[in-house]
């Protein structure tokens, strides 16, 4: 039986608690009375993955079985989530590859031979061959990639984008032409957190900048409360409007999967356990890791962490019509990650780990670290934020990894030019976004290299707009003061200092909540 998530109140028997901070972690002694939110333990996984996939494809929700949607001579397009999901990358075989294999088997049986497979990466970076091969599997890669039938979506390829119309709110819907003109578009998703999937999959994953900018902006993002609850998220409403419009033009068969909470494989699984339950082996592991990390050069720590593969198990798979499928998916995600938290607190503490969706095989630069903490973790709530309005967020991350110029070229310039000018999400959009989005050099790098689109750092900053709007102060423990200041934040060397600094905002004895994340959690704040 899976133990549910719970909220621990720190007392004098509580051992130091694990806090992630970039390429490392620390054991922190929290003040007594601090609430620590632990997510539920992993749900049971499906006993037979292949069987579960078969079952989902044969008995979809609100749809004919996949087999019956196929016919010889049809145009079939399979799109899948890119490497930003799941985190960390799964151990091979990746669930998406297993699903695509079965889909292709059915297609072959039905005599479908016009098949193309597209990585739905929106404005993310192109994946390398190796990364692509990891997701779809060796066999699929070998059969499709050399012929150019397995490729990365290109949101700047004007010739291969299709404008499908305008929603009732005037939003342009423009997606990949191949996908838009297919007889059947199958989307293979990994629903790691509640904000993923649904109409976001096709509507954003295969869209162009022209389409995405309607919901990826500061105004929409501030009014998305929360992103994890698509019925109360402006961004999701927009994506849903677009998705429905797409659905009127092309038949979409959505396959969504949900995962358990086994974020790290052995021996790092210790990092997921509750500290007071650490066995001798666990304690030795933590000690050894801490000693090793303390002396390892940054490059080595980077390699050590980024070579980690997750042990995720499949908790469920649903296929069929987008909306009913997504309802079921969200239910399962909530079941895995939701924790009831009674009331807001004055201070919210978060440890930003080494990995976010946008630095797989790359570096967690300061902007991504801010986005991870104030975007993903802050927004990981239902009903209301964990911290009260005007409260303080305390984050852990050294902010010292620097920028990867291959994957994040526009981030460097965003950091040096835009953030040096203003850190207000509402101001950067009108002043700089157009210039970065249309810059031919960034476009060139996005299309030919492995670079995130020029506009991507803006989205990171819009992502944290809600947090910036809501919070009274943001303090980074152990953060590089220069980088923190550039982003408009403050840094402290210890939690004690950070609380001292926060006291001017929330008083000398604030209520504190620490989100013990990872494993993934979703705070349901009553």
């Amino acid at each position: 039986m899976t133990r549910p998530g719970f909220v621990l109140e720190v007392d004098d028997r509580t051992p130091p608690l694990l806090v992630h901070e970039g390429l490392g972690f620390r054991l922190e002694e929290f003040p007594q009375g601090t609430r620590v939110v632990y997510p539920p333990e992993s749900l049971p996984t499906v006993p037979d993955v292949e069987e579960a996939i078969r079952e989902a494809l044969e008995n979809p929700v609100d749809s004919e079985p996949l087999r019956e949607l196929m016919f010889p001579g049809m145009r079939l397009t399979i799109a899948f989530d890119d490497l930003s999901l799941p985190l960390p990358t799964m151990k091979a075989p990746d669930i998406r590859g297993r699903i695509i294999e079965q889909v292709l088997t059915i297609a072959a049986e039905k005599g479908v031979d016009d098949v193309e497979i597209i990585a739905a990466l929106a404005l993310h970076r192109r994946m390398t061959d190796a990364e692509m091969k990891h997701i779809v599997g060796e066999r699929v890669f070998r059969s499709f990639a050399p012929q150019g039938l397995l490729y990365n979506h290109d949101a700047e390829d004007r010739a291969n984008l299709e404008h499908m119309g305008v929603t009732e709110k005037g939003e342009d819907v423009e997606i990949n032409k191949r996908a838009a003109t297919s007889d059947l578009l199958i989307y293979v998703n990994v629903n790691l957190v509640a904000m993923d999937g649904g109409h976001k999959s096709v509507g954003i994953g295969l869209a162009s900048y022209k389409s995405i900018k309607h919901h990826h902006n500061a105004k929409t993002m501030v009014h998305s409360r929360s992103f994890m609850d698509h019925k109360h998220s402006e961004m999701h409403s927009s994506a849903w409007r677009m998705g429905r419009l797409i659905g009127e033009n092309v038949k979409v068969f959505q396959i969504e999967t949900t995962l358990d909470n086994e974020v790290f494989g052995r021996p790092y699984d210790t990092l997921l356990k509750r500290e007071w339950e650490w066995s001798l082996r666990d304690q030795a592991t933590v000690l050894g890791l801490r000693r090793g990390l303390a002396v390892a050069p940054q490059k080595m720590r980077h390699k050590m962490f980024h070579d980690l593969r997750s042990n995720y198990g499949l908790t469920g798979i649903t296929a069929g019509a987008v909306e009913p499928v997504h309802e079921l998916t969200v239910q399962r995600v909530h079941q895995q990650q939701r924790v009831k938290v009674e009331g807001q607190s004055d201070v919210m503490v978060m440890g930003v780990p080494y990995l976010g969706p946008y630095n797989v095989n790359s570096t967690m630069n300061p902007i991504l670290a801010a986005c991870m903490g104030l975007g993903y973790y802050f927004n990981s709530y239902l009903r209301q934020p964990v911290v009260r309005e005007g409260g303080v967020a305390i984050l852990y991350h050294p902010l010292d990894e620097g920028f990867n110029t291959l994957t994040h070229p526009s981030y460097v310039d965003f950091y040096e030019e835009v953030l040096a000018d203003t850190t207000d999400p509402a101001l950067i959009g009108p002043k700089f976004e157009e210039q970065f989005a249309t810059d031919p050099w960034y476009v060139h790098l996005y299309r030919t290299s492995n670079a995130y689109h020029g506009v991507h750092p803006f989205y990171m900053w819009y992502w944290i707009a809600h947090a910036l709007d809501h919070l009274g102060d943001v303090i980074w423990v152990g953060g590089n003061p220069k980088a923190a200041a550039r982003m408009g934040f403050r840094s402290a060397s210890t939690l004690r200092d950070a609380l001292e600094m926060a006291s001017s905002t929330v008083g000398p004895s604030p209520s504190i909540t620490y989100l013990r994340n990872p494993p993934h959690l979703l705070a349901d704040v009553r």
Binding site: A294, K299, L399, D400, E401, G402, F403, T405, A451, K482
Partner: protein, 753 residues
Amino acid sequence: MTSEIRERLAGQHVLLTGVTGFVGEALLHLLLTEVPDVRLSVLVRPKGSTSGTDRIAKLLAKPIFETVADAQVNVVEGDLSDPPALPDDLDAVVHSAGDVSFDPPVDEGFVTNVVGVRELLKRVEETGRDIHYLHVSTAYVSGRRRGHIPEGPVDHAVDVEAELTWGLAQRAAVEERSRGVEVISRLRKQAEREHGRAGLMTAAAAAEEARKKWVKDELVRLGTERARSLGWTDCYTFTKALGERVVEAHAARGNRATIYRPAIIESALTRPHPGWIEGFKMAEPLILAYGRGELPLFPAAADTAIDIVPVDHVVASIVACLAHPPAHGDPAYFHLASGDRNPVTFGMLYETVRAYFSKEPFAAGDRGAARLPEWTFPGGASVERVMATGEKVHKIADTLLGLAPRSDRTRGWARDLDRQGRRLKFLRRYLDLYKEYAQADLRFVDANTLALYRSLSPADQETFAFDTGVIDWHEYLHDIHVPSVTKPVRELDELRKLRKKPVPGRMPRISATSPTEEKRVAAFFDLDGTLMSSNVIETYLWLRLGELSGTKKAAEIARMAGKVPKYVWADRAERSSLLRTVYKEYAGARLSDLDGIVDEHLTTHILGRLAPDAVRRIREHRAAGHLTVLVTGAIRPLTRPLLPLFDHIEAADLAVDDRGYCTGHLAASPLVGESRGSFVREWSRREGISTADCFAYADSHSDLPLLAAVGHPVAVRPDVPLFRHAKKSHWAIVDWESPGHASRTLDPAGLRR
């Protein structure tokens, strides 16, 4: 009260030389204020485009002359080496012009101190009048003698005419010798060793520069050596002593002449105002260096006297001498010195200066006041040992630095080393110059001067005070002299503090050119080391490794590793031979395959290594409407990923045979060194662009001609020779950090824990 001196000089017509100098200016001031009835003419040479009259007008506009603003001074324009005819009603001439540099080139020393005197006296004799000639010499004409020095002719038997002929001939002789094969080939080889990588023309320019410097140094050395071989400390005192002989000969022809010898002249005691000084004299650089904590030792003994006199005593005694002309044919001698009756010792000087700076340290930047060195007066030999060791260590460090790989740390070392080097050079120069004086136990007897002073009326004794025996040296040094000489430095420090950053060396601004404007601008960028951290060997390896499988890769790396010393050697020798060596390795590759490999495998490598600041700068240029040009010795396929950033790419083309295979040779010579400079000029000419408006960015000494060809050069993470050149030329130096493999660190010092 009436002044006897004023009465004696009333109505007399006096000609002054050297009034633009320190003593001359003080003398002019004193005569104008205290002897208003004397008529004054000044002999001034034009300087540049400024005429003598203008120079005097400018001089009289100085604050100290405010009280005598309506003074009448007759200006005689002319140069002492060929003086004009003098006014025909002259009564006296005071000659205080002369170069006070201790180590002039030997010919200049003779021209100033001997020829100048001879020519002036010729003009004096030509007037046919009974003129009192007062010759300002120096007490140190006694040279290397020791002990008491009387007020009389210096005892020596040097043939003035012979020495003069020799001295004047030296410039031609040394110029001739400097073109001799031994000198010129040594200088050329050294220049080629240092600058060869930048090209032979750069080396040639450096060699000619070195020859000119050699000529100057040699002339100085000759002067000093000749002076010492005859018993003088240096060329200055030697030629001054010969100058006195010329004056004595003039007196012997039945004329009236006074030879006036002051010791070391320092700031004024009371007049025009306490502490008044113009420019830096002998002790000031040492005092300032001490205050900055940069003078750790001195070769004097603590009890040796340093014979200093205030400038107002000097000019007052000159006026007194002027009022008391000697008999015809019998020159009078006067010493103005303090060492005999009221000496200042180096120990006193040191204590006073130290006390002053302890109380009032220089506001020394952001690191607090400098630590004041404690002198132990270990004696000349010991100081010399310390200096010699320091110089040796500096030389070794410099050699090692030339071999060190380039990095921030190396440049930091270079900066420190150069600072140390400048200090050592400063020390060496001053110690060499002043060693003679610092160790000279000379006592200048001033009996004549004292007798003259005592003969004055009490009123004159007050107005024209020059009894050095009554000066309170501690008060003078501590309260007047040192505060006065440190004042301008403090003001400069204040100014420097107000300025945030030093102006030279700043990154040149990019200003947009409007499309309507005729003026076009180009920016030239070097590739390796400037835009990205790599070199040709690495790029070769990337290319090859793309083609090879695992085991072959290892073998290839091993093979290249075996050759590395050879490549490193080639890199030091000449850049183009390195490139040729590396490109041989491409033999047998198909050019179209190379393009394919680059597109497939190397784009990520190359783009991942681009320095973000470099890319931003290129894009700024493009945004400003400038043309961007990539100049590289790398082969063209490697530049493919950069195509969108540049309007023109000048790269090496590999020669291919008719089947499209590389031959291992280049289609044309690689563009390195000087050919980069000429490429820039030729390309700009063809495009109708003025190179003066252009920008260039490069990292290595071999790119010097490229940088020198444009108006706005920028050194990017330069190697040590380029770093030094850039600092010297006030070029901008920037640090465009390339990402290593995965990441660019924001702040290397911030990598804590």
